[in-house]
Symmetry: D2
Subunit: 362 residues, 4 copies
């Protein structure tokens, strides 16, 4: 059940980095939503390799095909299958990983679990796996657009290593994020980040950072008590992305340094609505959205695959050294921005439909 | 589906703080596991109110009753229902919350979602809800004991506000955690924490902090690729606990300040096993355990319910002021330690059985 | 996962025949539905033992207690737990079943699966397990009443052995069913059935029959394509009841003797609605309700536990003979009528909420 | 969630009859199972149109492609996606169904549910949808072969209209079933059935019948108490196939005419194993397999699409007449035989893995 996500808007992804294809089946999508391959392609292009000089040069157009679930440009309520064939696979660049485990990658653990592994390009553990998520999320966003027209999801690079951007989550705009190849809306800092990533890459090394995401326009009432709290679902969604190490919402870890009297978000009536004066809660209280912007941060570690010689072991249990070849991101964050947004859309769409099912709103 | 957790070892919890009872139904438990009410009571006592002078004085013995699923002291493979009746309910202390929302509590969002709310003591959003989880986790730990006898789960208070303990996750022992009422294994720091919590409480205020947890003895191979990565499941489990705001595993947010060449955990053969020299991964790679200790940290915000007057609004949309009465923890962390351990046990037991189902190990 | 049912309206049942208690937790129930213990008791009384001279004399009031999920007489959207304690347990009457397997009962298969078994009164395989289903179904019916006020579910005994009633599913009324203790709305035939059951019982034997069920007032559009077709869900629901051996909907097995030109239900406009002239489809086409009455039949085998000596084997693998004592139904059908209705209500309520979630109707 | 099946061995199917492609994603498959496209093709050929003179002449090779989840001829534990592109689509033959509903087909109910419908060839309600099931079932059978090497699943045509075959479920062989195009192992009766189907087809009419299935070599202990009883899962699986109207296991409806003393299957020791003298239970007791052959029957109605003029209504609510064109089976049973086997394999594989997860056998 590793590759299924969601209860009401349910997706099933498939595909290895160098297998035949990657893709997704979406079950439970509302009918009569306008949907074309071009809609999906927009976000696939935002996550595809080769899109800029600071990401992996693997050359994949990632052209998608909808093979079911639509009719004359609309969803029909049946499963929507989207498929992207792998084109620029070069398994030979991974030959040495057939017999040795890359440090901090999933090579060893897949072998430990399954006793077999597609060693070509990371197999299922490759970030290429996220194509299915991004494609499904385009559909999710279209559903959300109908249920909550004001809703917008904006993720951006908050920091690369120690370079930290200044961004106001209340006002940041999508176009500012997309204005540069590192996807940081603080333009001067973006220049520094780009230079830094190039420098690190030229050294055969890699680097991580933090992505921040804000969701504005979520109606009050989405999310569930107890296990499926909205922040819990977001935390799972984020930690399911490759290379993630941490998640914090609202005040996060910093909030542990405050007292309740400082941390509580006082309620007040504003424009006839219940609003909070501050938003240290990050838009969610008791697992349920309160109508304020949801915002959170996700930590991404430096990419595991580097072009330096590292100590490791062989599949037959001998110490050895390994130096990667192939094509890899020195920093995953620019391409991870659309992945973060995608997971948010999948979480929210699922919860919007669950809420409608139980409580009948909309 | 709010109150269901797990795929193979599946729990269904129920109960409000001031309703008749709280409890849990565990479905999918392996048969022939020795289990008594006394086993469960041990951990319920660790989470119960009134256990020390720094937690809420609500007087609940939290005596549990197993009403199904066992026979002559053993599990029989059928659902195990455990029930705890609420005894010391004092709904009148919450009367003012009938008409006004506590800031940063779930009062407003439950109302927004359901259009109705049990205002007595937080209802389902009370930490009292975790009784079912802790009871189920005792059973999970007994299953784990059979599948991985070396496995031990140890959580402890790492910090209260700015008071941070020095603890070595590799060697920390359960008895050191339980040696004091704040559940911090750094004894001198524990004294300071206890004093600090008393001081904050005397001011009618509240305070948060960080719980760290280490799991030693997890076999390689547990967890799943993609959505149900082990770290993703742990993140969800932790963020599903009341008052949590953040989760980080291994290097966490700090790891974003390292380069790949510093961050990668080199593999080496040790005692005939594949081991890592460092453990910045936190025991999980690609969503699957690698045999190293799993460790992570969870941020808890200061308790929302404080004994100070706060600005808020009424259920009919007027600005008002609210000062809580009733019995509340000024700091949830000492009682949250067994809750964190419980969620870890539930995640691991579920994944151990899922792994056995798919891969046939054990 | 044995004891969980439903996706949106989800129930989790528990309890053995002679364990402490039986009951259910309902998750996902819409809020603000009026609900009291008295509501639930009505149907529990219809299924309880000792209700008439032709059912088991076990004396259980089956008094239920709602311990969570309601507040001031209304559901609040959180899990509703209902519990019934076993009172008249007489484990000694089952002592011989500790060491020998009853033919055609679940004694042997539970042992084969779990390696352990509560031999007192059938344990989890007792019809007593259905208490949780019946209680949950009362809640389901109340939800359905809001979503489809015209909807009514009427089950009745169609045949006992070769005694077959004449009943018109289009007009049969609930009161006619409840008018006699065998629950057959054909009054003269009911008298014969009652006499026949008494006769069989006096011979220490048992007997089966067929229950028919009609559901009027289901709106078009409930159910799902492919695996969760409405008839597939009903088939599963019925075959999950103890002692069932067959299910047929609409024309059923008899329909295999017709040609397409005879079997097809012609559509016609009637009162401004799309209606069918005949209803051999039984109200469902392609897995989805078409607005016509749903009707189906369920075969119940003769009760396995009889008061005659039978050949069997011991738990240690020796041939032996066994003659049951204890209290048993010579014919389960009168008490199975509310169980059939209950499962229909659970299936329909789940699908109504799923439909609302995906398609937004209501 | 309409198109998902299974808990441990979980499949997600997709595809319309005249959309781009049909297929399946299998999640949770054990690793290191040998699997090639040729393996899958064998069963796809058994269900494909155009295979003989008594089935639909639509010309589809149904050539499958595995696009993920295998490596060097073995499963690797990740999702296996199998895809079959539709080649011989002739949407124009269905043009009149755009505006009128075929009687007893799913045209109207899909419209009622989703407000939109792919009218080309039945869309998702076409038997073409079962390609994904049959493909997944080949994988399931390979898993079962490892877990229970003796297990064999044999389905066959038991009756066409009133023509009933004489077959001994204890000894029937796969080759006898495949020996003729109607898939009835009673050779003389098969000839009559073939002639009868041709005759009915020449009249523009259609016909149904009964498929019987026997499963030999199922180990005791598979299946679950309560909702997921093995017979309940089989009933759902069968009623999820297009055109099915009934299911009976073991003695079935006929068993309602017996007394308990006649119907009970006495246990006896045979070859050191617990066996039953008769098998009216059909190999399952209390929802769990007892080691005896499982056998059941499924009723298939006459095909809804016939080449005769029928009364129906238009999508805009007017009475009209409709006479189908296009290519259709006059009798679905020959091609439904591999579909029945497929669903049995999916049910058993799922339960085998669930059993291994909970109880640790194998």
């Amino acid at each position: 059940m590793a590759s299924l996500y969601g209860h009401a808007f349910r997706i099933s992804t498939f595909g290895e980095s160098h297998g035949g294809a990657v893709g997704v089946v979406v079950d439970g999508c509302p009918p009569r939503i306008a949907l074309t391959e071009a809609d999906i392609q927009v976000d696939l292009d935002r996550r595809r390799p080769g899109q800029s000089e600071i990401v992996t040069p693997r050359d994949e157009a990632d052209a998608c095909k909808i093979v079911s679930g639509t009719f004359e440009g609309q969803t029909i309520g049946t499963p929507i299958a989207v498929i992207v064939y792998n084109k620029d696979a070069r398994p030979d660049s991974y030959r040495e990983m057939e017999s040795a485990f890359r440090p901090s990658h999933a090579d060893y653990t897949y072998d430990a679990k399954f006793g077999i592994r597609n060693w070509q390009g990371g197999g299922r553990a490759s970030a290429r796996e996220t194509i299915g998520r991004v494609a499904a999320a385009v559909i999710a966003k279209k559903v959300l657009q109908q249920l909550a027209p004001e809703l917008e999801i904006i993720a951006y690079v908050k920091s690369i290593h120690s370079l930290t951007a200044t961004v106001d989550p209340a006002t940041v705009r999508f176009d500012d994020v997309e204005a540069n190849i590192v996807r940081c809306p603080d333009a001067p800092m973006a220049v520094k980040m780009i230079d830094f990533i190039k420098e690190v890459r030229s050294e055969g090394d890699s680097v991580g950072g933090v992505i921040e995401c804000v969701v504005r326009g979520v109606p009050p009432g989405w999310g569930e008590p107890v296990f499926d709290k909205l922040e819990a679902e977001l935390a799972k969604a984020m930690l399911s992305l490759p290379a993630t190490k941490g998640f914090e919402i609202g005040s996060g870890f910093g909030g542990t340094l405050m007292r309740g009297s400082e941390h509580n978000d006082a309620f007040e009536m504003r424009d006839g609505k219940v609003r909070t004066r501050t938003n240290l809660s990050g838009g969610i209280q008791g697992g349920i959205s309160n109508g304020e912007p949801i915002f959170f941060r996700v930590a991404f570690k430096p990419t595991a695959t580097i072009f330096r010689e590292q100590d490791t072991v062989t599949t037959t249990g001998e110490n050895t050294k390994l130096k990667a070849r192939g094509r890899h991101d020195a920093c995953v964050l620019p391409r991870a921005v659309p992945m973060v947004e995608a997971m948010v859309a999948l979480v929210l769409c699922d919860h919007a439909l669950r809420h409608r099912g139980q409580c009948g709103d909309f």
